[in-house]
């Protein structure tokens, strides 16, 4: 037994020492990547540099692909920042990110994807190529002890893997960086943070089948307790925004028609739950941004170029009706109110 325990411990020491050595070597190696998620850098530069009042759009890729911020900017004569990038980052991260960035007089349009979720797994994947992410939602990382440990470990292994792939690629093609695709690319965004690389692409979306429910997105799977956890975060955010003097409106995201029909039961329950439990003004209903399947690019929530313009016009009309956001009591100069160019 002694021999066994001695050998196991020796092996553990050897293994962890190897990891430390590898970590030290890889700590100083920068990973070049053009991954879509690196679009966050640009978005956060906008968030830091543009003065308030501003309109900030927060949520998942339904906004990144499906908003034409220029139209909103022209309509309200306020600078627009599309902070949304990927729902996989999870509700807690997205909320913490906007909570950290919001300022006095900002207007936040919070349009979270259906199916509120944790994003720890996805964030662990993102960390090696975007270590800056830790600065975008400091409280999220500070309060998540286990994630911190795991992410540090994953950071090292992810870096090694990415480095190996990069080296392999460079030796094969002499080009730099890791190109994931032309659409899902860090340069896919315009100056507002909208994805524009796809706007001339045709729809690739297939019609929803019977089994294309949103189980993966947890709309039909989330228990009431799980959702309540996220609703609490949203309500906390509202309090923080109020204390900072910012306005918040919640909006249901877009979804392709055939997928909406298949999931209508679950979505109805989810919407009722939100209306009951979330203390934020809700600016639309689940049907507001439902369009034909042919207006979606590759997923039921990624609109094509035409689709995103339609959705944006509908969004502007809905915002225009919202007197809570654009009334005489707030600090937005009256000449910047609801001046839609359409």
């Amino acid at each position: 037994m002694r021999k066994f325990i001695f050998k196991v411990l020796t092996f553990c020491i050897l293994f962890f020492s190897s990891l430390v050595v590898i970590s030290v070597i890889y700590e100083n190696i920068e990973i070049e990547s053009n991954d879509y998620i690196k679009g966050m850098i640009k978005k956060h530069q906008l968030l830091d540099s543009i003065p308030s009042p501003r309109i900030i759009i927060a949520g998942g890729s339904n906004n990144a692909f499906g908003i034409n911020s220029r139209l909103i900017e022209e309509a309200f004569e306020l600078p627009v920042i599309n902070l949304s990038i990927h729902a996989g980052l999870g509700t807690p991260f997205i909320i913490e990110e906007i909570q950290q960035g919001v300022r006095n007089n900002d207007i936040v349009i919070l349009s979270l994807e259906y199916g509120l979720r944790d994003g720890d797994k996805f964030i662990k994947k993102v960390l090696p190529i975007l270590p800056e992410i830790k600065g975008y939602a400091k409280n999220y990382f500070d309060s998540n002890f286990l994630l911190n440990i795991q992410s540090n470990v994953d950071h090292v292994s992810g870096k090694i893997l990415q480095h190996l792939i990069m080296t392999l690629k460079n030796s094969l093609s002499q080009s730099n960086g890791i190109e994931v695709s032309e659409i899902y690319h860090m340069n896919a965004f315009n100056k507002y943070g909208d994805v524009v690389a796809h706007i001339h692409e045709k729809s690739k979306l297939k019609k929803a089948q019977k089994n294309d429910d949103l189980k993966d997105n947890s709309v039909n799977d989330n228990t009431e307790i799980e959702n309540d956890k996220y609703f609490k975060l949203i309500n906390n955010f509202k309090e923080v925004a109020d204390s900072k003097g910012a306005n918040v409106i919640f909006m249901f995201p877009t979804m392709a028609e055939s997928y909406y029909e298949i999931n209508s039961e679950g979505l109805k329950m989810y919407a009722e739950d939100i209306k009951k439990k979330v203390n934020i003004d809700i600016g639309n209903d689940t049907r507001s941004f439902v369009y034909k399947d042919s207006l979606y690019y590759d997923t039921p929530s990624h609109l094509t170029g035409i689709g995103r313009d339609l959705r944006t016009i509908d969004l502007i009309k809905l915002l225009k009706k919202n007197t809570l956001l654009f009334n005489d009591d707030n600090d937005i100069p009256s000449n910047k109110k609801i001046n839609i160019v359409d």
């Binding site: 037994m1 021999k3 066994f4 050998k7 196991v8 092996f11 050897l14 293994f15 190897s18 990891l19 590898i22 991954d35 879509y36 998620i37 797994k121 662990k124 994947k125 994953d154 292994s157 992810g158 090694i160 893997l161 190996l164 792939i165 392999l168 690629k169 890791i178 190109e179 994931v180 695709s181 899902y184 690739k204 297939k206 089994n211």
Partner: protein
């Protein structure tokens, strides 16, 4: 609790230390510890379903005791049938009820009588198909007087719920595992060290091979209409390695963990993708289930002893039941039937036991004939796995027709969000590494078995190298073990 999770990495050393340092030398205390640890392990997933295991354990224990008493045959048969009814009843309720309700409704609708079947909104308890078969084997063996019933309830309960193999096998025979709970267990350095080696390789297969293959297999199977024939074929091959890495990896970890506590579980996989025909494949794939069906279904049905027609019927029954055991849907039944069709010609030509030895037994490389046999068997297996992975029979048939109708000979293009094309190349290299290592160890019980002949420096370098490979190349998203759903 998942093997390979942080929780299990904490749980296992604690149980190990308590087992050998606190309860050591006291068999009853060891069994109590194993029982508590097993219930904790299972309850970590959902403690409510523990009641099901406890109930099943109590009933089968009592039935075993009564079967041991010198009763007349009618009473004994009644007791056995009660055990079968209870175990199969649980399985039927949790796993098959909705399937039968829907199938009946569909069948009635063919005659114009449509009705909405009543569906049960229940989740399938993890591992129910495994532990019910294990307890069934106990009742049947006691009934057949091949095994004496145990009076030690703790030992019996620990046998039913033994945590290394509770949720995904190997499905142990009572005659093999139960007596081990009655014998004093003394620590063995060789066994424990063997166990750790097997766990290490199992982790590699699960975390590196299966979880990485799953990323691509899932992407391709979930959007099969958008891919060319060549990409779909790549997806099917990824799934072929995913299911092997997942299930054989689980079995290796289970067997290795059991060795740490001085238990010997049966071998569940014997490098099945090196098989030269389907007879050999089914002697090497999920051995514990195949032999269970052989002993408790195929042979009682008459096996291959009767007429040809009877043999054909028995082969189809065993394969279809095996498919149905995996899941309550038509695609699993089709998977079973297809395997029966693969196996049947061998049986009819009496060539099903032709390849009893190991491939390339006296050389490193296989002969051309062996290579052709191996590649043919592998290719047919890939096609069969499509039925296993697809969500429905229609989807499987559509997938296969798309392979052959949509540019099979084009260059495969697989785009997965967040994964570069070269990452797929890395996964392919890792699969080749797996094949090479397993080929080297193909005559052993598992990879790294009998590695002690290698010099210690090289041996330790191999262990360290594989551990670092697991650390670097582990998939970013852990996948549940596929066989948990069965």
């Amino acid at each position: 609790m998942l093997f390979g999770s942080l929780e299990f990495a904490i749980f296992l050393p604690i149980v190990f230390v308590l087992y050998w340092f606190v309860t050591n030398k006291n068999l009853r205390h060891q069994n109590i510890l194993l029982l508590l640890a097993s219930y904790f392990f299972y309850g970590w997933w959902d403690w409510r379903f523990l009641s099901l295991i406890v109930f099943s354990t109590c009933i089968d224990y009592l039935i075993g005791i009564y079967l041991g008493i010198d009763l007349d045959n009618r009473k004994r048969k009644f007791l056995l049938l009660s055990s079968i009814a209870m175990n199969i009843g649980f399985l039927g309720l949790f796993k098959y009820y909705n399937f039968f309700a829907e199938s009946f409704a569909q069948a009635f609708s063919l005659f114009g009588a449509s009705f909405e079947p009543y569906r049960l909104n229940i989740i399938l308890p993890v591992g129910i198909s495994f532990y019910t078969f294990q307890t069934l084997s106990y009742s049947i063996d006691v009934y057949r007087k091949k095994l004496k019933p145990t009076k030690d309830f703790i030992a019996f309960a620990a046998f039913v719920s033994f945590f290394p193999q509770l949720v995904a096998g190997p499905i142990e025979r009572a005659a093999n595992l139960l007596p081990q709970f009655h014998k004093p267990r003394v620590f063995s350095y060789d066994e424990a060290s063997d166990g750790l080696k097997q766990i290490l390789w199992g982790l590699f297969k699960k975390i590196v091979i299966a979880d990485n293959c799953a990323v691509y297999a899932n992407a391709i199977f979930d959007n099969s209409d958008n891919y060319s024939g060549s990409s779909l074929l790549i997806g099917a091959i990824f799934f072929t390695f995913q299911i092997y890495g997942d299930f054989s990896g689980y079995s290796d970890i289970a067997i290795g963990t059991a060795k740490l506590f001085r238990f010997k579980l049966m071998q569940n996989f014997a490098f099945p993708y090196f098989s030269r025909d389907f007879g050999e494949f089914w002697r090497r794939w999920h051995i514990s289930l195949s032999t269970w069906f052989r002993d408790y279904l195929y042979i009682p049905l008459g096996g291959s002893r009767g007429s040809k027609l009877l043999s054909i019927r028995n082969v189809f029954i065993i394969f279809i039941v095996s498919g149905f055991w995996h899941g309550a849907s038509w695609n699993f039944i089709a998977w079973g039937a297809l395997n029966a069709a693969y196996f049947l010609p061998l049986l009819l030509l009496k060539k099903n036991r032709k390849n009893l030895n190991t491939i390339a037994e006296n050389s490193f490389f296989p002969s051309l004939k062996e290579l052709i046999g191996m590649l043919t068997t592998f290719s047919l297996t890939v096609i069969a796995w499509i039925f296993f992975r697809a969500e429905s029979l229609f989807e499987a048939l559509n997938f296969i027709s798309n392979i052959f109708c949509k540019a099979l000979f084009s260059f495969p293009m697989v785009e997965v969000l967040g994964q570069s094309k070269l990452q797929m190349g890395v996964v392919i290299v890792l699969i080749i590494f797996l094949i090479i290592v397993e080929w080297i160890f193909r005559k052993e019980r598992f990879a790294f078995d009998n590695i002690s002949k290698v010099k210690p420096f090289f041996r330790w370098s191999i262990y360290l190298g594989v551990s670092i490979l697991i650390f670097i190349f582990r998939a970013s998203e852990k996948q549940d073990f596929i066989y948990f759903q069965f």
